[in-house]
Symmetry: C2
Subunit: 327 residues, 2 copies
């Protein structure tokens, strides 16, 4: 299996790379080469007998995709995007990278398809940002996509392209609507949704964290481990079972912030919970009132995708994969 990961330097990309190197297999077949691509050159991991290429490439340069596709990878993970805040701040850059970049990738595959019948599996990282308030809870699989950000718009457009290119037989695509990934490892960042991770990750190591919203806010989460599981399952599943609706809302855990905090208390005690400082931020409150409270994810579940079933499992995944692994 020759595998291309675009967006390999990001958090999910790095964890997916680690997973593929650790198992050495995908869909029961040995991974022979791994092409790691991002706008910054990804760090080269240990090869473990697999040929690894690390490349810097920017999909918004329309010459980039044909070069990436020239070696005809069997599986393409497309995880690259600029994030919500940046796509909102820079209209042109958002459309250029998140829409034109993806379309350029799909068209590069189409060019190879036209030449020699090439038809790879394409796993596309979409987002729950494709839906926009007012939202029911839980959100059914057939709910419409009315995004309230340019980022969500771009992801929803790429979902439509993915389905149409797949319907025409150009590639075999699966779009994965990722929940908010929690607990994100690393340092607190400025993403508006960062607090969902911060209020757990920091207290677990004795650090303070700020909660900028009321603890009644409900949102939709899955662990980094689950995100990697979604990607691998999308790359290996029998896609004939999906039909033409190729974009799937992934399973996850719906929880209020209060429920997150109670899960933290059960695992790490009152002393951890006391490290959470409540500092309401009106701007973040306004934003996150429009975020998705949770999905039915009936189709994805019946197609074999799975995630944690409660918040304690999400916290324990972090402890096992980050805190214990670092020991």
């Amino acid at each position: 299996m020759d595998i291309l990961i675009i967006g390999a330097a990001g958090m999910v990309g790095r964890k997916l790379t680690q997973h593929l190197l650790a198992t050495g297999h995908l869909d029961g077949k040995p991974v022979t080469s791994l092409d790691l691509v991002d706008v910054i050159t990804p760090d080269a991991p240990e090869g473990n007998g697999i040929t690894i290429t690390c490349r810097k490439a920017d999909l918004s340069d329309l010459a980039a995709a044909p070069e990436l596709i020239a070696r005809r990878p069997d599986v393409i993970f497309h995880l690259a995007a600029i994030v919500s805040g940046e796509a909102e701040a820079d209209f042109d850059k958002g459309y250029r990278i998140n829409l034109d970049g993806t379309r350029g990738l799909f068209d590069a595959i189409r060019a190879q398809h036209g030449t020699n019948g090439y038809r790879p599996r394409v796993v596309f990282a979409s987002s729950i940002a494709v839906v926009g308030a007012p939202l029911p809870y839980p959100i059914p699989d057939d709910f419409h996509t009315t995004p309230l950000t340019s980022y969500g718009t771009q992801k929803a457009i790429c979902e439509l392209l993915l389905a149409d290119y797949t319907r025409r037989g150009i590639f075999d695509g699966v779009g994965i609507r990722l929940p908010t990934i929690c607990i994100r490892p690393g340092k607190p960042n400025k993403a508006a949704s960062g607090f969902f991770s911060n209020i757990l990750r920091e207290p677990l190591v004795g650090q303070e964290a700020v909660l900028p919203v009321p603890d009644t806010i409900r949102h939709w989460h899955a662990s980094p481990r689950s995100a990697v599981g979604f990607m691998v399952h999308a790359a290996t599943m029998d896609t004939s079972a999906i039909g033409p609706r190729r974009n799937l809302s992934m399973p996850g855990v719906s929880a209020t912030v209060a429920e997150q905090i109670e899960a933290l208390r059960r695992i790490a005690g009152d002393s951890a919970v006391q490290l959470i400082r409540h500092e309401p931020d009106a701007a973040i409150i306004a934003m996150c009132e429009g975020w998705a409270p949770g999905f039915e994810a009936t189709r994805a579940t019946s197609l074999g995708f799975s995630a944690e079933s409660n918040f304690e499992q999400i916290i324990r995944a972090h402890i096992e994969d980050e805190l214990e692994a670092a020991k």
Copy 2:
């Protein structure tokens, strides 16, 4: 009011032009100029004191839109598209015209917006082809868009762009998901959906028509008169009532072919119905089993859009607007 109609040579474009010239007003204000644009130069109608410009322009030429927008029309009706069959047969042409052409238009408006705060009303002709089988009946307003044609994909993408550009204040857009227009005036054409009109229009003037599907097929219809009404209402309504979900499934009449035929019988008698020849066509049957049986259209109705309430009204609209008008 300075009005631009792109796609002015098409059936709805011509009827909209006639309506604007006949009333001479839009939103209570006099129409001062009418810019009629299509890939073939539209016929110049009588001006009725209104300055009329007829121009040939192709939106897939990205230099075209900036020129059309340079005079800063108050209202833009964007009705131009290549049809479903052609967009399916010619992948590149479909995306170039239906997607890139529309985006080029939106970006030309954005360029003027950036320069001088220009912010026109944009009425976009979308289609019920944005949904794809399996479909419930009636289809709720919040049902997802999973098109099964490249044409439907392109319309769904343009809907997303329209909503995002509107949200950002670049223009004030309304997307109109048109039902199948019935009865289409003129000669029978080769569109797969043409029979819905043919089996009424031809018998009404004593001609035979072919019905290629079982009469149990249910579909969603509105008259050309209603289509013009949708356009005018979208151009003049208070858009603050719509909110960010700018694409609306229009009201219409849901009817089986048998119900269409019974309406014809009540209006024109058994002799008209006997002119319908049943010649099943497997290809057309396969296609139309995936077509939309009907929409709730709750939002559009509450926002003041209206259509016929039964099929006899649709037939009578044709008799009044085409057969009696031609006398």
